[in-house]
Symmetry: C2
Subunit: 108 residues, 2 copies
């Protein structure tokens, strides 16, 4: 398995989903984030690293602290995919409609 770094990978983990939610409110440091969970700082740090690689999060150094900002725009990738899916599904139902329509026409 090649290491994938995309939004879908990012949100696959429940802790990361929680971190994303946390960061919607505002930028936080790894310690601040870890305080909200039962996770250790290092564990959070690893997730932040992945989220950074997925470009869902940016770092901002402030003195000895690093503030992690959410890049909410990246979440649109999920929306885009969902939209594609829904369009395909709609088309499928259109086809079904066509079939049903034809059945109606052929009725005696």
């Amino acid at each position: 398995m090649k290491t994938r770094r995309d939004v879908f990978q990012a949100i696959a983990d429940p802790t990361r989903r929680a971190i994303i939610m946390l960061l919607t409110v505002g930028a936080l440091t790894p310690n601040a984030i870890a305080d909200h969970f039962n996770s250790s700082r290092q564990a959070v740090s690893k997730h932040l690293q992945i989220l950074t690689e997925c470009e869902i999060v940016n770092q901002e150094q402030q003195g000895r602290e690093i503030h992690y900002h959410l890049n909410a725009d990246k979440m649109k990738d999920i929306e885009k995919w969902l939209e594609q899916f829904k369009q395909l599904l709609a088309k499928r139902f259109e086809q079904l409609d066509t079939v049903l329509e034809q059945l109606k026409l052929n009725r005696p």
Copy 2:
């Protein structure tokens, strides 16, 4: 990590996302699905197993063939989460708006 079986896990893999897309058009057998990719039947079968456990897909036995149907409803779980996220984000901007509003009021 306890094995999670949720929609987020299901869509984390690109092959599984492709399978989901394929199944929007209609139910297919593992072999039929495998024909659309460079994946082997067994590899596809494993993904189908996961998708089944995630309840994104249902099996329907027809003789010696098994047709895999998409349970499109399950995809709403993703939408729900995205919606939650967007609401949180909106609230954040509301707060920002309040702050900006106050800054304006304090202007000379």
